[in-house]
Amino acid sequence: MIRVENLDVAFGHGQGRHHVVRQVSLSVARGETLGIVGESGCGKSTLLRSLAGLERGWTGRIWFEGREVGTVRRREELKLAQMVFQDPYGSLHPRHRIGTALAEPLRAMGYPDDRQKVLRALRQVGLPADFANRFPHELSGGQRQRVAIARALILSPPILLLDEPTSALDVSIQAEVLNLLADQRDERSLTFVLVSHDLAVVAHMCDRVLVMKDGTFVDELTKDDLQRGVAHHSYARELFEASFL
């Protein structure tokens, strides 16, 4: 479903050049959920943004559904992968009603404005239809994240890219949002790439986890490894211990 070969991202020039992602390769099968864990600055978000097409400065090769995509994407390519960000308040326009925010991807992709589709998207993430007339500040953090998920799913993409989707939420709300994501994944047979610093969240959601440090993957853990608490690399072990503190 997703294949990445030798992805490289660097910011700046000369002395100030900062190599963020170094020769990264990965592949994700259809319906699989891949987790990427690492600490701040390890390059995990940059990698995800490159996949989404938000980062233009990368080199290497990326394939979605067997088709190679470039740094500049066409509409059909953008429709393949949608993204959910960490802070839904920062990713929703404060002066647009929820309905407008949800219709935005439709408009951007050249579809007609379809109110029914918007209301259906709200229902699918467990929100009442009259939320379409509300503003983002009238919603709680968990509800806003549901809206962000609805917006990502409204174009029916086969791939969902999740950047710390529950880090800003309380644990009880996190549980609700993770359940929603899992349900949508099973219902629509979606492929997920989930980036997080929280090993417990990643272990719960993912079939396979890549541990990232300084722009490269240092370890790969299967679901079985996670359950038994096995890590092959010293850094991954460190993360394990810290998250079970």
Binding site: V171, S172, Q174, A175, H197, L199, S243
Partner: protein, 283 residues
């Protein structure tokens, strides 16, 4: 060093906080004692855990109405103190460590000067002596190159280092009570442990009491002697270990956390209506 007096450092009975004329109280009838031990306060956002911490320091805004039948610090009533007396108490006898060092350190002052200021105010040291005390304290919180860090500004150091600096600044006066409000939430997981262990070591060394405020019940459980669980401004339960949780809220909170070692297909979701019904019966 064994504690000679068993009397609590902090003793609170029926603490109530209400902001302005708000119909809903922020904190209702909160009572607990803190001795020379580590007490954790856990709860979700809006549960009143930080407000409790600030009420103890008398740092809430004037519009907050704070009442209590008793709020004693080392036997003295906090609410009866004048602002001037409080200023002497804060920093010297009780210290607050906040979540993000980037916001609580002065961005235009070198680290060394900021810690030296603490030494000057609370230890009565002057000039070179204060700077030397600051340098020793930086070394004490395991900063490798204290002389270099002394000259650096807050934006030049990492988050974990910033939190060490905060700890150095707050604990240089050896306060009797340390309130740490989410001290590790802004830090990476691998740094968290070091900061917590450091805090623990210094608090034990000074024989002081520690209140650790956090949303992370697992972390608090592994670190504290006692855990106070708050929900909607009330204490719902006090426990010594996660396995002893009785209250449905505490249980729901623990069940909602994903655990890599015990995977479940779906996470347990909190039934808030049922919880509210229980709350009404108690109230």
């Amino acid at each position: 060093m064994q504690d000679r007096d068993a009397s609590p450092i902090l003793s609170i009975r029926d603490l109530n906080v209400r902001f302005g004329r708000n119909a809903i109280a922020a904190i209702t009838d909160v009572s607990f004692d803190v001795g020379r031990e580590r007490v954790g306060i856990v709860g979700e956002s809006g549960s009143g855990k930080s407000t409790t911490g600030r009420a103890i320091m008398r740092l809430l805004p004037p519009k907050a109405g704070v009442t209590a039948t008793r709020m004693a610090f080392c036997g003295e009533e906090i609410l009866d103190k004048t602002e001037r007396q409080m200023n002497r108490l804060r920093g010297q006898e009780m210290a607050l460590i906040m979540q993000d060092p980037r916001y609580s350190l002065n961005p235009v002052l070198p680290i060394g000067k900021q810690i030296a200021e603490s030494a000057r105010l609370h230890l009565g040291l002057k000039g070179k002596e204060a700077l030397k005390a600051a340098r020793d304290m930086l070394a004490r919180v395991r900063i490798n190159d204290p002389d270099r860090v002394m000259r650096q500004y807050p934006h030049q150091i990492s988050g974990g280092m910033g939190q060490r600096v905060m700890i150095a600044m707050m604990l240089i006066a050896r306060p009797k009570l340390v309130i740490a409000d989410e001290p590790t939430s802004a830090l990476d997981v691998s740094v968290r442990k070091d900061v917590l262990l450091l805090l623990d070591e210094l608090v034990r060394e000074n024989n002081s009491g520690l209140i650790l405020i956090s949303h992370d019940i697992r972390m608090v459980a592994s670190f504290c002697d006692r855990i106070i669980v708050m929900y909607r401004g009330r204490i719902v339960e006090e426990l010594t270990g996660l396995d002893k949780a009785q209250h449905p809220y505490t249980r729901a909170l623990i069940a909602a956390m994903p655990d890599a070692r015990h995977p479940v297909r779906r996470l347990a979701v909190m039934d808030r209506q049922a919880l509210d019904r229980i709350g009404e019966r108690v109230a």
